[in-house]
Amino acid sequence: MKPSKLSLGSAFWLLLKRDLVLAMRRRSEFINPILFFILVCALFPLAIGSDPNLIRKIAPGVIWVAALLASLLTLDSLFRGDFEDGTLEQYVLSAHPVSILVIAKVIAHWLITGLPLILVAPLLGVLLSLPAGATGILVLTLALGTPVLSLIGSVGVALTVGLRRGGVLLSLLVLPLYVPVLIFATDAVNTAVTGIPVTAQLSIIGAMLFLALALAPLATAASLRVSLS
């Protein structure tokens, strides 16, 4: 009998499912960022007063900055646990291309930490008195933008996972790369408030997503090898 190697697709699903199961068994990990996101957005109106026009003006920025920081908070968990218990070595030594397995891990991570942000964003839009049309655009920018954050972040985490205190370095590495996403996303929502079409901004964020999807897994796989050696 010949040994059977699982197809790449099945290995991908296996890993994706494993990370989701692990997240279900440690729920605090994905409740934390969403709680952070909601709290930051809820505290702003309390701090700056009840002028609805002012709140509406800063709402896109507040929501996006909070989403960005929430995603930054959870980044480290992407590979840290696997590094510490040695499972990361096993992935790097698997019979499948590491960059594909990395995509599975990033998708799982995004489903756990990014998707909930998108789901509660409409509520926060109402809280910060965003018009309905702009809330729709907000959700769209988050849907396109948060995967970019996860993908870019995965490179940073892969580079710093071998360091004992890589947290500060991770933020310094990753934040500058987050800035373009932040600028285009908040600009899209701000423009949507005034009723002007925002296809240009959305297309640019979409382009960033595809670029990140193509390049980040390769960079992450290479960085993981560097971190392990």
Binding site: P3, Q90, S94, P97
Partner: protein, 216 residues
């Protein structure tokens, strides 16, 4: 009892050297390993045993020299080489929140599943029958090590690379693993390991390299 490994493989090290923190751990290390042979690395703490194992499985690049698998540069082969090895490091590589069964299913998916031994049989062979569905976190250190060792059985890896496989195992566990080694070598597999335990091999040809003698 077990199907033999059909192809014969060779692992060749030529002039391997390793530098760590500006210290030359070893240099000009040569050996050739064929099917049915085992290599035991000996040496004092800090003599570079773990570093050498990590070089052999491709996690770490050698600072000098070349590692060949079937005559080709192993580091260039990448996943093609990795599918032939099973690595057991200091850290077990188990997810503590998953059960042994789930852990092994992932290990099987990442490598090439062996046709003649299933996960449950492998768990039985390492003495974890009845613990399939207990979260790995709740197992003792020795039992967690056994889960990691069961990983060797379920994938068709010709080359086992093991870093202190006997850590936290009891006497019975050590005997079981020695038995696994004998079977692995008998079916044409090969193994490289570090251990402070005196191993009794009944099968295969055993080479030894003492890295302390090469310490500079």
């Amino acid at each position: 009892m077990h199907t033999a490994i059909s192809e014969s493989f060779t692992l060749e090290a030529r002039g391997l050297g390793c530098i760590r923190d500006d210290r030359q751990l070893f240099s000009a290390l040569d050996f050739t390993l064929r099917g049915g042979e085992a290599l035991i690395l000996e040496g004092r703490n800090g003599s570079g045993k773990t570093s050498l194992l990590r070089i052999l499985c491709g996690i770490r690049l050698p600072d000098d020299g070349v590692l060949r698998w079937q005559g080709e540069d192993a580091h260039r082969l990448g996943a093609e080489f990795h599918q032939h090895i099973a690595y057991l490091g200091h850290r077990d590589g188990n997810k503590l929140d998953l059960t042994p069964l789930e852990n092994l299913r992932i290990a099987q998916g990442l490598g090439r599943a062996r046709a003649d031994i299933g996960i449950e049989e492998a768990l039985d062979r390492v003495g974890l029958y009845g613990f399939e569905d207990v979260p790995t976190r709740n197992l003792s250190a020795g039992q967690q090590r056994r889960v990691a060792i069961a990983r060797l059985l379920i994938t068709e890896a010709e080359l086992w690379i093991l870093d202190e496989p006997f850590t936290s195992l009891d006497r019975k566990g050590i005997e079981d693993v020695e038995g696994m080694f004998d079977q692995h070598l008998a079916r044409g597999g090969m193994a490289v390991l570090t251990t402070h335990h005196r191993m009794n091999f009944e099968q295969g040809e055993v080479h030894r390299i003492d890295l302390s003698e090469r310490l500079q």
